[in-house]
Each structure stands twice: as structure tokens, then as C-alpha cells.
């Protein structure tokens, strides 16, 4: 399935098979629903740790559907999937580490310079 672009031309020349779009539209409705839920939370809930966690979890779900279905990564080989995912996972660490660092830098600025 990974290199299907080369091999998908074996049907009869001149005859175009019907479109298979069910899975595509299903993914689209999931993505729209998740965005609508995020928007509803932004409207109904006051900002806080819980709301932010909900947003981040829903974002990860959306990212999964885009990468797995639209970008077809779910159907590639295991080694390619890990090649993409491992470096990306390390970025989460960077993000968390530098947010903690930012808080600490902010504390120093407001404690000693103001």
C-alpha cells in the first residue's frame, strides 16, 4: 500500500473505476465535530488548567486523524511511522521544559528587577 502510486494503473485502460470517498468524508466530519467541541468549550468554560487539558487532548486527536488518514501515515511501513513520530515526540519534551524555564525566568525578572 505504501508505494501504491506506481501500481494502481492495472485496471482496464479508458475505464475509470468509481470513487471510494466514504472514509475521507467520515474523517472530515470527525475533524469538524472536534473543532466544534473545542469552540463550544472556549465559549462555555472559563480559562483554566482543565479547559487547556481538554483542548490539548482534542488537538492530539485531530492531529492523529490528519496524519493517519489524510497523510496516509497509518498505511505506511512501521519503520517510516517511527522515523516520523520519535523526533516529533522529543519536541513535546522541549516544549514542556522551556515552558517551565520561562516560568522560572519570569519569577527572577519580577523578583529581582522590579
Amino acid at each position: 500500500m505504501a508505494s501504491h502510486s506506481h501500481h494502481d494503473t492495472h485496471h482496464e485502460p479508458g475505464v475509470i473505476p468509481p470513487a471510494q470517498t466514504k472514509a475521507i468524508w467520515r474523517t472530515f466530519f470527525i475533524l469538524c465535530a472536534l473543532t466544534a467541541v473545542e469552540f463550544a468549550f472556549a465559549f462555555a468554560m472559563d480559562p483554566g488548567m482543565l479547559r487547556n487539558s481538554i483542548f490539548i487532548i482534542l488537538t492530539i486527536f485531530k492531529a492523529f486523524f490528519i496524519v493517519a488518514e489524510f497523510m496516509h501515515l497509518k498505511h505506511e511501513t512501521k519503520s517510516l511511522i517511527w522515523t516520523i513520530l520519535i523526533p516529533t515526540a522529543l519536541l513535546v519534551w522541549l516544549l514542556i521544559a522551556l515552558i517551565a524555564e520561562g516560568t522560572s525566568v519570569g519569577d527572577y525578572i519580577f523578583t529581582y528587577f522590579k
Binding site: 508505494s3 472530515f28 488537538t59 492531529a63 496524519v67 497523510m71 522515523t83 522541549l94 520561562g102
Partner: protein, 247 residues
């Protein structure tokens, strides 16, 4: 030298005959490019997290929020305007609409790739045109968003010395600390540049499709590769939407 041997496909492992990860060269390189682009965008969002957390957060009640340089603004108090509905408080409505438009453009892109697998030239053309249209809609919306952000609200912000400032640029910002506006321009601007490059690529492959280049080549892999890039742009927006606008 026998010339026929030169036309034999190379199949040896060290002969260029194998495909690592069972993906074609072009698609693999697109994946690696996108991974490197992920680092760039992650650097932007990490910088945002770092700078935001080194500022004070707004601690009062959500309804009493006022723009001030003393603390980081609450995003849904900044981005609450909608074109044609002047003066109404519609937090994040326009950004949510932009997100929907971009997701829709991603769907029409997938449909173009799917049509390419079936060697259906007419369908590829149709879906590529829709993708170009939705992509342009998104860019247009972003232009409106930037214009509004730069011009500011009618109330503006009153500084300590009594002067009023309106809107934002790279050195002053009515919504909060100047760095908030800088990060807005850099992050959404860099993403917008990606969308713009994507539209240019889409127009190029649309012209090639109309000319029948891929039909003669026997496959629509170029549509797939541009598709990967386009979905990535959509993916980045999903993260920008969360980390810049929602959180």
C-alpha cells in the same frame, strides 16, 4: 558494450534498486522535509510558551479583563471580531471558521489524490480547483484578521502617561505586551507563507494536470506529494489554533 543491458531496471540492493520504507524517493523526501518544518514550527510555538510563561498571567475574573501591558492577554478577548458584525463580542468565531475552511481544503485535496489513483483526470482537476479556492479563502480571511489586529479596536489602550495607542505593530501593542503582537505576526505569518507556497504548488500541478502531463506519465504521484505538504499546513494550523488562540 551491449546497449540492451543499460535499459535493464536496476534491482540490486546497492544498485538503487530498493525503496527504503517501501515509499518512493519523492514521498520519502517530502516526509523528511515536513519533519524539518515541524522543528521550525515547534520552535515558534515553544518560543511562544517560553515568553508567555515569563510574563504575568491575568488572574482576575474572565469578564473583567482589560488590555494591559502588565500581563499576557487572554486570546479570546483579543480575537473576538467577525467581518460585517462590528462591535459584537464573538470570541474566536472567525478563527473557528478559518479552521473549518482549511480542514475542508484538506478534504478536497485528499479527494484529488484519490482521483489520481483512479487516473481520473477530470476529477483531479475539479478537486484541485476546489482546494485552490478554499486555500485562497483562508489566505483572504487571514488578511482580514491581520488588518483588524493592526488597526485595533475603537477603545484602544490608555498608557500610564495618558496617551492612547490603537492596534499593534512590532514595537507597540494595544492588546498587551509588545512580544504578544510580535509572536502573532511571526507565527501566523510564517504559517500564511506556507499556505501561499502551497497555493502556488497547487496551481502548478493543476496546470500540469490540465495539460495531461501526469496522465502521460502514468501516475499522479506529484499530486500526492503536494497533498502531503498541504495536509501538513492544515496540521500546523490545528496546533496554532490550540496553542495561540484557545489555550
Amino acid at each position: 558494450m551491449n546497449t540492451t543491458t543499460l535499459e535493464q531496471p536496476r534491482t540490486g540492493t546497492w544498485d538503487g534498486g530498493n525503496e527504503p520504507f517501501k515509499a518512493s524517493y519523492g514521498k520519502l523526501m517530502m516526509w523528511f522535509f515536513l519533519l524539518s518544518d515541524t522543528f521550525t514550527f515547534a520552535a515558534f510555538l515553544t518560543t511562544y510558551g517560553f515568553i508567555r510563561h515569563s510574563h504575568h498571567a491575568f488572574t482576575g475574573s474572565h469578564d473583567t479583563f482589560k488590555f494591559s501591558v502588565d500581563y499576557w492577554p487572554v486570546p479570546d478577548k483579543v480575537f473576538n471580531a467577525f467581518p460585517g458584525l462590528h462591535g459584537m463580542d464573538l470570541p474566536l468565531a472567525f478563527v473557528a471558521l478559518m479552521t473549518m475552511i482549511l480542514i475542508l481544503s484538506s478534504v478536497t485535496m485528499v479527494l484529488a489524490v484519490e482521483a489520481g489513483h483512479r487516473m481520473d483526470q477530470k476529477d483531479v482537476q475539479k478537486w484541485l480547483l476546489w482546494t485552490i479556492l478554499f486555500g485562497s479563502c483562508f489566505i483572504g480571511s487571514q488578511v482580514w484578521e491581520w488588518t483588524h489586529f493592526i488597526h485595533g479596536t475603537e477603545a484602544g489602550m490608555t498608557l500610564v502617561d495618558g496617551t492612547k495607542i490603537f492596534g499593534a505593530n512590532l514595537v507597540q501593542n494595544q492588546y498587551g505586551p509588545p512580544l504578544f503582537a510580535d509572536l502573532f505576526f511571526f507565527i501566523t505569518g510564517f504559517h500564511g507563507t506556507h499556505v501561499l507556497s502551497g497555493i502556488v504548488l497547487l496551481i502548478i500541478i493543476f496546470i500540469n494536470t490540465v495539460n495531461g502531463t501526469y496522465q502521460r506519465r502514468g501516475h499522479y504521484e506529484m499530486v500526492e506529494k503536494v497533498g502531503l505538504y498541504w495536509h501538513f499546513v492544515d496540521l500546523v494550523w490545528v496546533f496554532v489554533f490550540t496553542f495561540f488562540y484557545l489555550v
